[in-house]
């Protein structure tokens, strides 16, 4: 059986990981179908009489201080969280893998240059940097948030990839491929990429949760994707002032956030265990 199928089988046997994966799938589905399932998240039916309503048949999760439907806002907020989380993680991993591969395959000079650059980048305070950028760039679209989070988040991945490339370069099967006359590109495609795919996938999946939290933190501070577009961060912000009189306002997005992060982390841990080359068949 191929190693990928073995990994899939190990993953399927891992109950917490499977739970995480099912939750992630459900979240993605709910976010996709949000416009069909719920009302307009921006509608303010009656800002005076319908504000901070507790859960009811009309508003399953209640309403917020502007009388907007919390269920609808939570589901629409999931779209921002998931797009930013998954998008930025994928982009970051691609960047990191590219730089790591280049560093691992290029000569000593390029390698040194890239890795010293990464050392410097890792010493920059990411949050402060993001705060500063979005404080200035007030109308930043979601795509910009994705891009900036990704650009500041690929450094670790590049190190992981570089380290695996350096050890793979010494592997006998790579020497055998060279002896067969396989070209450099052929060796990367056939022998290196399939090997670095596993650690990269794991690192990406574990990153998604962190990025979602980061984005929520930014939008809680009113940065990045801005109101009135619903994000879990700015929804929690909306609920902050009525935390005791109308706890459901902050509770719904807060729980959604926790659930999402836990789901991604469970799935990520499961992937790591399943793809671990040392794991037995």
């Amino acid at each position: 059986m191929s190693p990928w199928r073995l990994a899939a089988r190990r993953f399927a046997r891992n109950r917490p990981a499977l739970t995480g994966a099912v939750l992630v799938a459900a979240l993605v589905l709910a976010a996709l179908l949000a416009p069909l399932l719920t009302a307009d998240p921006l509608a303010q039916p009656d800002p005076v009489r319908l504000q901070n309503q507790p859960p009811s048949a009309a508003h399953l999760l209640g309403t917020d201080p502007y009388s907007r439907d919390i269920l609808s806002r939570t589901l629409h907020g999931a779209r921002v969280s998931l797009v930013v989380g998954i998008g930025a993680a994928l982009l970051a991993v691609t960047l990191g893998a590219g730089v790591g591969l280049t560093a691992g395959l290029a000569g000593r000079r390029t390698d040194q240059l890239l890795m010293r650059g990464v050392d410097v980048a890792l010493s920059l305070p990411r949050i402060v940097l993001l705060l500063a950028v979005f404080a200035v760039w007030e109308e930043a679209p979601a795509a910009a948030v994705v891009l900036l989070i990704a650009v500041t988040g690929w450094f670790q991945t590049s190190r992981i990839v570089r380290a695996s490339v350096l050890s793979l370069r010494e592997a006998d099967f790579v020497a055998a491929a060279r002896a067969l006359g396989t070209t450099g590109a052929g060796i990367v495609r056939r022998h290196l990429l399939p090997h670095i795919a596993a650690p990269v996938i794991v690192s990406a999946s574990l990153d998604v949760g962190n990025i979602i939290l980061l984005e929520a933190g930014l939008s809680y501070l009113g940065l990045g994707v801005r109101p009135p577009t619903p994000t879990w961060g700015n929804m929690i912000m909306d609920g902050k002032d009525v935390l005791f009189s109308a706890p459901w306002v902050a509770l719904a997005p807060g729980l959604a956030l926790v659930l999402t992060v836990v789901a991604f982390n469970l799935a990520g841990d499961g992937l790591r265990d399943a793809l671990d080359p040392r794991a037995a068949a």
Partner: protein, 326 residues
């Protein structure tokens, strides 16, 4: 020996530079191969014996230009291997192959055995589609793997079977010369015999030449009619194996031979036990590289100062020792 040997190695030197120290500022030169000359004729096996760190693996890889040489020459069928451009080198690779010690590490765990064997066929466009599949099947059958192995993955095979798969991969490009780098050292005795027999059969059937590298003197004796003994990057003795095994001339070869435990409780032999470990190839001793460990009673000043060259003391039997004929 034939007029032109298939592989000619002349004064080959391979040094590696390591950066050491806290900031990688100090350079250390590992003198892995230090002036080796040898020939391998068509359809012949040359055994290359030595202990770990003697440079035998590096020598094998330098001959195939998998490692850069420092100086010296390798000619394959008359062509200078180090003068070839990349395209010509790639064509040349079809004719010379390598098998490694560790059948675990030399197969990509994420490729099926069939795809591993196909790699060379695809690279050199020897066949396509169903024809390539047929070739892979035939190769796997030739090395004695069960039908249906092509779709399976390395972890599903035993060590001996994986080594068979590696042999099939090397054979796929129809080479004339194979560097066998400790091909049976990782295998159990009963399986080792199977693989050795296979290598001998393939040689007879396909007319292959082998450079058979091993630390196991008994294995080498079994496969190679001619043997070279390597110590600290140099050939110290070289000749027909009957001569070397029955009348070893170099004190190192003598120690090596008597150190091998013989599976017969009735033989009790005088053993030359060496003292200490082999010196580091970073700064090999001056004079004869073996002199610090040499137990020869006649060891003298010239052993410490003058490096002995290979001299022919019997027909085809050369030794690099000042004292060998005393």
């Amino acid at each position: 020996m034939t007029a032109t040997p298939l592989v000619e190695v002349r004064d080959l030197v391979t040094h590696f530079t390591h950066r050491v120290g806290l900031f990688g500022t100090r350079r250390e030169v590992v003198q892995a191969v230090n002036g080796v000359s040898l020939d391998v004729a068509a359809r012949e096996t040359l055994g290359l014996v030595g202990e770990s760190g003697c440079g035998k693996t590096t020598l094998g890889r330098t001959i195939l230009r998998l490692v850069a040489r420092t100086s010296g020459e390798v000619r394959f069928d008359g062509q200078d291997v180090f003068a070839l451009d990349l395209a010509a080198l790639r064509r040349m690779r079809r004719r010379m192959q390598i098998i490694f010690q560790d059948p675990d590490g030399s197969l990509n765990p994420r490729l099926s055995i069939g795809r591993a064997v196909r790699e060379g066929i695809e690279v050199h466009r020897l066949a396509r589609g169903a024809e390539a599949d047929g070739r892979v099947e035939a190769l796997l059958a030739e090395v004695g793997l069960p039908a249906g192995s092509a779709a399976r993955y390395p972890h599903e095979f035993s060590g001996g079977q994986r080594q068979r798969a590696c042999i099939a991969r090397a054979l796929a490009v129809e080479p004339e010369f194979i560097v066998c780098d400790e091909p049976v050292s990782a295998l159990d005795v009963s399986v080792q015999a199977q693989v050795l027999n296979l290598l001998l059969d393939l040689q007879a059937r396909r007319g292959l030449s082998y450079l058979f590298i091993s630390h196991d003197l008994a294995v080498v004796r079994h496969v190679a009619p001619r043997v070279a003994v390597m110590y600290l990057g140099r050939i110290v003795e070289h000749g027909p194996s009957d001569g070397i095994y029955q009348r070893p001339l170099h004190p190192y070869t003598q120690a090596l031979l008597t150190a091998v435990p013989v599976p017969d409780p009735k033989t009790k032999r005088a053993r030359v036990v060496l003292a200490g470990d082999p010196p580091s190839p970073v700064n090999p001793p001056g004079g004869c590289p073996f002199h610090p460990r040499c137990q020869h009673p006649g060891k003298n000043e010239s052993c410490r100062t003058v490096r002995p060259e290979l001299r022919e003391l019997a027909p085809g039997h050369q030794v690099a020792c000042h004292l060998a004929d005393r």
